[in-house]
Symmetry: C2
Subunit: 238 residues, 2 copies
């Protein structure tokens, strides 16, 4: 936790804020802070700055905080990801949020097990919690937008064209394709398939929608390894 | 598991091999293969090819296999990593091996908790197991060399100069440094610090040994996110 991320619900009045639970425990037990100490903080979807710990009764903490600076620049990358297995999803969301990705679409694919769509991990509150952990890691405040699309065809036909308009749409795909581009500062949409890859039909649909295939090494990587490796290559990290 | 990785201990005679346990369960239950089926296989530190499942008594499997092709090209990158927390170490080793890294040095740093050096996770057998999982993921056979160095100064003064000779030695470091280079095909040594970073003394020692500081974005990433992101940027993936 490199930033104490405050939420509107934490607001008392004026510049006063109150926290309890996980965040208070972290400030108290991991950072070892007591009344009078200051720490880096931010308000969800707003700015960042220094907070001062005013009081700690062992349960609730009161802090003063006013945002004074802009949060880190977002990464101009939209991620379209075949729904990963639930165990992996958590880590991928934390990683995606910490890398600065601000729009994530979890999409169905032929090779996504149907049961993945019915796991408790897909509960909106749990997904938001992972994104929050990613923001706290990278000292960011801007919560990514997360869309769940459990039908491939209607998404690709009806929503995707508008979504990728004005961006470079990149598909990591094995074969004799140009290498993945590097160090882009423009808007990018990156599609990452499931374990075993998109089917030929799905690949064809994505290409028809405007995606271009690019090679990214010969090795088969786990999605959670491929995501940061692809982002590190493709994007100029601000 | 994208490759059945055989070990010398599995050898019967001629082209006959015998496996049991985790690998046999995977072939039987996940891949669903029965006698007569073929699958991708390799021999540790040797070649890859097709194996044929000859017999399965529900416990042990017998296969025929002869290496016929070279394994994937290694990544010419040596990784020097401040010893991560044990929970993270496993994932980092799997990732490093799957990315094709062939030499990994786990190094002490002021900010590495002393207890990390005394955890069961550092047992050589467990570390090797994680590297094996990474090889099975990326269909590789060449086991990375793994060195544990629990004293920073003697390593940096006595071993590091020979280790980085002939390579570009890169240190990801916040500040006004040139951007991390991209798409290198030459030999690289990459040093990644602990949570909280190397101390000024340690950074000075690494620079004195020949490392150059490079910026890599403004965000604070977890080591397990930073590693694939850095590798994806710096190296031309073969």
């Amino acid at each position: 936790m490199n930033l104490l991320l405050l939420h509107p619900d934490d607001h008392l009045e004026g510049d006063r804020w109150s926290i309890a639970g996980r965040r208070a425990c972290h400030v108290r037990d991991v950072l070892g802070l007591t009344a009078g100490a200051s720490l880096r903080a931010g308000l969800v979807n707003e700015g960042v700055g220094e907070a001062v710990l005013l009081d700690d009764d062992g349960q609730r903490m009161t802090l003063s905080f006013s945002p004074s600076q802009a949060p880190p620049a977002p990464l101009p990358l939209t991620l379209i990801l075949a729904l990963p297995r639930p165990k992996m999803l958590k880590r991928i969301l934390i990683d995606a949020a910490s890398l600065g990705i601000k729009r994530i679409i979890l999409l169905n694919s032929w090779k996504v097990e149907k049961s993945y769509w019915h796991t408790p991990e897909l509960h909106a509150g749990l997904l938001r919690e992972k994104l929050i952990l990613g923001l706290e890691q990278s000292a960011d405040t801007q919560l990514p937008e997360l869309l769940l699309r459990d039908r491939f065809k209607p998404f690709v036909e009806d929503e995707l064209p508008a979504l990728i308009a004005g961006s470079r749409a990149l598909l990591a795909h094995p074969g004799a394709h140009p290498s993945m581009p590097m160090n882009l500062q423009e808007a990018v949409t990156l599609a990452i398939g499931p374990e075993g890859g998109w089917t030929d039909y799905e690949t064809g649909q994505l290409i028809a929608a405007g995606f271009h295939c690019h090679a990214f090494g010969q090795r088969i990587l786990r999605v959670e390894t491929a995501l940061p490796a692809l982002v590190g290559r493709i994007m100029a990290l601000p």
